[in-house]
């Protein structure tokens, strides 16, 4: 039994001397509108991705396919089909589908067995039309915001099946499998003083952490650095994930981004927490007054530099619009293009001992009072 041995990254086949970075943010369940909290996470990841790309080979892995097998997605689909039957979701709004999701979360859970047909279909690339509709609407928001589309509508299955990943974990001495007695399967890092964490429930349902492991265990050895971006409330799970992936070779960086309170409260989307504030309405409101580039930069200034990684400030539409206004001024004053090396130097300043560029430091830097206006190529490469 290999126990927690650290392998070191697999050597790259092409001998190019650029570090390889994997950005692996947690995905948003495609069942509701994108709330301010979701937007914050997406904008952080996008700036990190686009700012790091000039300095490293970056893979941005964001696969909805990977997380469809979780109960909150499969259960929602089963609930829709059971409670509504044949329905054309092609003209449903995000809010309408979101309301159905809230109803699902309030309803009694279906037995695990009812979800099996859905779980099997997901492995073959099937997506429920309600979620396809959501992902199409999100794709339009991504385009409006200039967000890199990591394949929202693509079938991107994880590299390992559930049994295969449990076998790998067992080989690493990190799995406690009690299915023989009808019990759950746990991620077992108790040797390191971390508590047992359930991966598969006694009734056979895998949770999101099991899904993440199916995806990241086969990917991790091919990277020098793996950056995990996640909601701060999932910190203990991500500490565990970090330990597992570290044993496979790469340096693992955890970047926790807190949710955005609305009127002082962090409310979960499962209770319909968007209350009229979501990507669609925010983009429309900003676009009514400002041009596309100003909205793109302004959103990034607000959700990254103004809100910061923490959760101290509640969402404020007026401050968001101020940021968009500020963005319009910055764009008008943008400096001339520089050469590629100068851009790399500027981006590289916003790193510590890691390869990825820190979105908060980079974006905040644009707002410094006595700073020269940002160069047009920096804006185009990272923020527009």
């Amino acid at each position: 039994m290999t126990i927690l041995s650290v392998a070191g990254p697999r050597p790259r086949p092409d001998a190019v001397d650029r570090p390889r970075v994997l950005l692996a943010p947690i995905t948003v369940t495609p069942s509701k509108p994108l709330t301010p909290s979701h937007l914050k996470g997406l904008l952080w990841t996008d700036v990190m991705y686009r700012a790091t790309r000039p300095l490293a080979d970056v893979a941005y892995r964001y696969s909805h396919t990977t997380y469809h097998p979780t109960e909150q997605t499969l259960g929602f689909w089963e609930f829709l089909d059971r409670s509504r039957g044949a329905t054309d979701y092609g003209d449903f709004t995000e809010e309408r589908i979101g309301e159905l999701y809230v109803a699902f979360r309030a309803a009694e859970r279906a037995p695990a067995q009812a979800l099996f047909p859905y779980a099997e279909a997901v492995e073959q690339g099937w997506v429920h039309p309600a979620s396809t509709r959501i992902l199409q609407l999100w794709s339009a928001h991504y385009a409006a915001l200039g967000l890199h589309d990591p394949g929202l509508l693509r079938h991107q299955p994880p590299g390992l099946g559930l049994d295969a990943v449990l076998e790998r974990l067992t080989g690493l001495g990190m799995c406690l499998d009690q299915r023989e007695v009808g019990g759950p399967v746990y991620l077992d890092l108790t040797r390191l003083g971390l508590p047992l964490r359930r991966l598969v429930a006694a009734d056979g349902r895998p949770n999101y952490l099991a899904c993440a492991l199916r995806e990241l265990i086969p990917l991790a050895p091919d990277f020098d650095e793996v950056v995990l971006l996640y909601d701060h409330e999932l910190d203990s799970d991500y500490q565990q994930l970090e330990r597992v992936l570290t044993a496979l070779g790469p340096r693992v960086r955890r970047v926790a981004v807190s949710r955005v309170p609305v009127e002082g409260r962090i409310s979960s989307a499962r209770h319909g927490g968007w209350r009229g504030l979501h990507a669609g309405t925010l983009i429309d409101a900003a676009r009514a007054e400002y041009h596309e580039d100003a909205v793109r930069l302004g959103m990034r200034l607000y959700f990254i530099a103004a809100l910061g990684p923490g959760r101290q400030q509640s969402f404020r539409s007026d401050l968001l619009l101020q940021c968009v206004k500020r963005a319009a001024r910055l764009l008008d004053a943008a400096g001339p293009e520089t050469d590629g090396a100068a851009l790399q130097d500027r981006l590289a300043q916003h790193r510590k001992d890691h390869v990825y560029v820190d979105p908060y430091r980079l974006t905040s830097h644009l707002l410094g009072k006595r700073r020269a206006a940002p160069a047009a190529d920096l804006l185009r490469t990272v923020f527009l």
Binding site: G173, L176, Q178, E180, V181, G182, G183, P184, Y186, D188, T190, R191, G193, L194, P195, L196, R198, A202
Partner: protein, 251 residues
């Protein structure tokens, strides 16, 4: 506690349960009328209400094989010191079963006994606070499956510190499997064995033959001790969940 149980009837089960409570906690026996079902229920709810007070053992289970676990449970109980045994007995040999892998834990925690294949580990009986950090790290052992069918199995308790001249005894251990999950069977068999060892019914070198039967009724031998529990579907009635027969000498 060495009176035999006699044929399994509601009266004999009630008497057996009353005897168990009286032996461990005379104060509870004084407080309740243990000859009645209601009195027994009240005494049990007092015991439950005491929660984590008293002495308890934590058992960490990686996987479960009844015969092997029976053997190791006896080995563990035989190694418990006299004072700790008395305290644990007063707490009705309270035991918490947790899911965990002893091989991953042995460097951080002290165990009184670890099974040879690392499938299970036992802490010394003591106050709950002593095992708080272990319990915080692990989860309750969740085994909703029934006991897998198996033929009668001979379990030989290792000789260890066998008293010279004590004849090697053989007893039959009956486990009722109908409507019983592995989690529940563990609790029942654990109490029967731990208390039998602490009361001197099982000694080093003894043999136990483990029988799985749907219900403990019409046994060929008399029981020396029995684990009494309530009927799930018959309110007010008791049943035998596990029992150990009187001893026979090993030829």
């Amino acid at each position: 506690m060495t009176e035999t149980v006699g044929p399994i009837t509601q009266d004999s089960l009630r008497a057996q349960e009353a005897m168990r409570i009286r032996a461990a906690r005379p104060d509870l026996a004084a407080r309740h009328d243990l000859t009645s079902h209601d009195g027994l229920t009240a005494a049990r709810s007092d015991i439950t209400a005491e929660g984590d007070a008293g002495s308890l053992v934590t058992v960490v289970l990686r996987n479960f094989d009844l015969a092997q676990w029976v053997r190791d449970t006896c080995v563990f109980a035989l190694g418990v010191g006299a004072q700790q045994a008395a305290d644990w007995r007063t707490s009705f040999t309270r035991t918490v079963f947790l899911a965990g892998n002893p091989a991953q834990l042995r460097e951080r925690f002290r165990f009184a006994h670890i099974a040879g294949d690392d499938s299970a580990a036992w802490t010394t009986p003591g106050p709950a606070a002593l095992t708080f950090s272990l319990r915080r790290l692990l989860k309750l052992f969740d085994a909703p499956a029934g006991l897998p069918a198996r033929p009668d199995t001979l379990v030989e308790i290792p000789d260890g510190h066998r008293r010279p001249g004590r004849p090697r005894a053989r007893r039959d251990l009956y486990v009722a499997t109908a409507e019983c999950t592995i989690s529940e069977a563990l609790v029942h068999v654990n109490h029967v064995l731990a208390e039998a060892v602490l009361d001197g019914l099982v000694a080093p070198g003894d043999h136990l033959v483990v029988h799985q039967v749907p219900r403990i009724v019409g046994l060929p031998a008399r029981l020396a001790t029995v684990r009494v529990t309530t009927e799930k579907h018959l309110p007010g009635r008791l049943k035998a969940a596990a029992g150990l027969t009187e001893e026979a000498l090993v030829a």
